[in-house]
C-alpha cells in the first residue's frame, strides 16, 4: 500500500483548492452563458456602480482576469457591494453578520449528529432509537421547518420573526436541521451498521479471548469510516441549513445565498457560494487531520523500540 498518509494529504490538497475552484467554476459558467457577462454580473441600468466595479473586476478582460481580480479582492475581504439583496451594503458586511449565525446553527446541529454517531458506536442508542429517528427523518426540512415556524408564531405572534424570538428560532432551527431528512437517524444508522460489521470481524472475538475490550480494539479500524460518515452528514447539514434559515428567517449564509439567487444578485451569490466552499473545505481538512491522527495512532510503537 502506498504511504497511508497519501490519501489524507490528497484530501488536504482538495480542501485547500476547493474555495478557489468554486468561484472559478462560477466565472467560467458565466462567460460560457450567452449574453454579455458584465450584464449578468452588474447590469448597467441599476448596478451603476458597475463602471467602477467593471474596471476593478476587469469584466471586459475575460473570465481569468475577472477571477484573479475578484479573488484578490475577496482575500482582502472586499466582495463588492450588493445591488439587489440590500442595495448599497458591502457584501462583506452581509457576510460578517450571516456567517456566525450559520456556524452556530450548523455547529450545534453537527454536535448533536456527532452524538448520534457516538451513540451508535458505543451502542448507547439502540435499534428503537434508530427506528424513531428514521421515522421522523422521513419528513423533509421544509415540512418540519414549517411546523416549527408555526409553533413559534403561536407563542410570539407577529414578532415571532423579530429580534426577541431570535434565540427560540435558532433552537427550533437546530432541532429541525438535526431531525429532518434523516440527519440524526442516518448518522445513528450509519454508525451502528459500521460498528456491527466491525464487531463481526474475527480479531474482535479473539481480542475478547485475550481479555481486551472489543470497542478499544475496533476503534482504530472504525474511526476513518466514522469520520468520513460524519463529514458527509455535516455537508448534508450545510445543505439543509439553506432551507431551515429561509423558513425560520435566520439571517445566515444559506438565507443570503437563497435571496441572492432569487434576486439574481451575482456578487452576493458568488460570495455566499465561496463561503460554503470554505465551510466544506474546513470539513475536508478536519477529516484529513483526523485521518492523519488515526494513522499515527495505528502506527504507534512503544517508545523504547522507536529507534
Amino acid at each position: 500500500m502506498a504511504g497511508w498518509w497519501l490519501r489524507p494529504l490528497l484530501r488536504l490538497g482538495a480542501a485547500a483548492t476547493l474555495p478557489l475552484v468554486v468561484p472559478a467554476l462560477v466565472a467560467a459558467v458565466v462567460w460560457a452563458l450567452p449574453g454579455d457577462p458584465a450584464e449578468i454580473i452588474c447590469p448597467r441600468s441599476t448596478c451603476t456602480g458597475g463602471a467602477e466595479l467593471a474596471a476593478r473586476w476587469r469584466l471586459d478582460a475575460g473570465p481569468w482576469a475577472f477571477y484573479q481580480a475578484w479573488l484578490g479582492d475577496a482575500l482582502g475581504g472586499e466582495f463588492g457591494r450588493s445591488w439587489r439583496v440590500l442595495q448599497g451594503v458591502p457584501v462583506a458586511e452581509l457576510l460578517t453578520e450571516a456567517v456566525p449565525n450559520t456556524l452556530v446553527l450548523v455547529g450545534a446541529a453537527g454536535l448533536l449528529v456527532t452524538l448520534a454517531g457516538l451513540g451508535g458506536l458505543t451502542g448507547a442508542l439502540g435499534a428503537r432509537a434508530e427506528a424513531l429517528a428514521r421515522a421522523v427523518g422521513v419528513a423533509p426540512a421544509v415540512l418540519l421547518g414549517l411546523l416549527a415556524a408555526a409553533s413559534i408564531e403561536l407563542r410570539y405572534g407577529a414578532d415571532a420573526f423579530g429580534p426577541d424570538a431570535a434565540s427560540w428560532r435558532l433552537v427550533a432551527g437546530v432541532a429541525v436541521l438535526v431531525l429532518a431528512d434523516g440527519a440524526f437517524g442516518g448518522a445513528l444508522a450509519g454508525a451502528r451498521a459500521a460498528t456491527a460489521a466491525e464487531r463481526a470481524a474475527r480479531y474482535v472475538g479473539v481480542a475478547v479471548l485475550r481479555g481486551e475490550a472489543p470497542l478499544d480494539n475496533m476503534l482504530p479500524n472504525l474511526a476513518p469510516a466514522l469520520v468520513g460518515q460524519l463529514r458527509a452528514r455535516l455537508v448534508q447539514l450545510l445543505s439543509g441549513a439553506v432551507v431551515v434559515e429561509v423558513v425560520l428567517r435566520l439571517d445566515g449564509v444559506g438565507d443570503l445565498l437563497w435571496t441572492g439567487t432569487l434576486l439574481q444578485d451575482f456578487g452576493v451569490v458568488i460570495a455566499a457560494a465561496t463561503v460554503f466552499a470554505v465551510f466544506s473545505a474546513v470539513l475536508l481538512a478536519a477529516q484529513a487531520v483526523a485521518e492523519l491522527i488515526i494513522g499515527g495512532v495505528v502506527r504507534r510503537v512503544p517508545e523504547g523500540l522507536a529507534s
Binding site: G211, V301, P302
Partner: protein, 240 residues
C-alpha cells in the same frame, strides 16, 4: 510439575443439542496436553468454556474447573449464564489464561502494530512492569518467536502468514500466562512452517513453565509433541 488447571465433567448444551459432555482435562505447567478429535467434536467449545466465553444458550450445564495456584474456587460453579461466566473469568483472560488463535493473520488487530499489541499484552502482567521492563519484554517476546525487532513497527497486514502466527504466539505468551490454549496453530500453513510453529509453541511454553493445551486434529502432531492426550468423540445426536 504443578497442576495449573483441572476440568471435571464439562457439559455444554446449545439449544436442544449437547456439544460436549463429561470432558475432563488436567493441565500441568510445562507439559503439552493435546485436545484431539475430529472437527466438530467440541475442541474449540471446550477451550472457550475454559476461558469463560460461551456464546450459546443455555451453555455450560455441568462441570467444574479449578486453577490450583489460585486456590480451590470452582470457576464453573453456577450461576453459569454466559454473561456471568464472561465477567467471572475476565481478570484471568490475558493474564492467567492465554489463547493463541488459528490463522493468526485475521486474528490480530489490523489497526495496531505488533509492538503495540505486545506492549498491551505485557501490560496485563501482575505486577505491572515499568517502562523499561515493558520495552525489554517486548524485545524478548519478538526474539523468542524468531521475529526481527523491525516487526514491532509492522501492521499484521504487512507480515506473512507464518510471521503472523509467530506474532500471535508472542502476544499470547507476553502476558506470562499459566495456561495457554493453542487453537489449531497449523491451519493455513504449509507443512514446513507447520512443523516449525508447533515446535516453537512447545519450546516457548516450556520455557515459561506454561501449561499448554494444544487443540489439533493432526494425529502426527499429537504423536510428536503431546505429553498427554484427551480425545474428544463427537456426540451422536440421537444418543443425547
Amino acid at each position: 510439575m504443578s497442576l495449573v488447571a483441572s476440568l471435571r465433567g464439562l457439559t455444554v448444551v446449545a439449544g436442544g443439542r449437547t456439544l460436549v459432555r463429561g470432558v475432563d482435562l488436567e493441565v500441568v505447567a510445562g507439559r503439552v496436553t493435546a485436545l484431539a478429535g475430529p472437527s466438530g467434536a467440541g475442541k474449540s467449545v471446550t477451550a472457550r468454556a475454559c476461558l469463560g466465553v460461551v456464546e450459546v444458550e443455555p451453555g455450560v450445564t455441568e462441570g467444574s474447573l479449578r486453577f490450583p495456584p489460585l486456590g480451590d474456587q470452582d470457576w464453573l460453579a453456577p450461576p453459569r449464564a454466559a454473561g456471568e461466566l464472561r465477567a467471572r473469568f475476565a481478570p484471568l483472560r490475558g493474564s492467567y489464561l492465554a489463547y493463541a488463535p488459528q490463522s493468526a493473520a485475521s486474528a490480530l488487530n489490523p489497526g495496531r502494530t505488533i509492538g503495540r499489541q505486545l506492549e498491551l499484552a505485557v501490560g496485563r502482567r501482575a505486577p505491572a512492569p515499568d517502562r523499561a521492563q515493558v520495552v525489554a519484554l517486548v524485545r524478548d517476546g519478538l526474539a523468542e518467536v524468531g521475529l526481527p525487532e523491525e516487526a514491532a513497527r509492522a501492521l499484521p497486514g504487512e507480515l506473512s502468514g507464518g510471521q503472523c502466527q509467530r506474532a500471535a504466539l508472542a502476544v499470547a505468551v507476553a502476558a506470562a500466562p499459566r495456561v495457554l490454549f493453542a487453537d489449531e496453530p497449523e491451519t493455513g500453513l504449509d507443512p514446513v512452517l507447520r512443523r516449525q510453529v508447533v515446535e516453537l509453541l512447545v519450546e516457548v511454553g516450556r520455557r515459561h513453565a506454561c501449561g499448554i493445551v494444544l487443540i489439533t486434529h493432526h494425529a502426527d502432531t499429537v504423536a510428536r509433541v503431546a505429553d498427554d492426550v484427551v480425545r474428544l468423540v463427537p456426540i451422536d445426536p440421537e444418543a443425547s
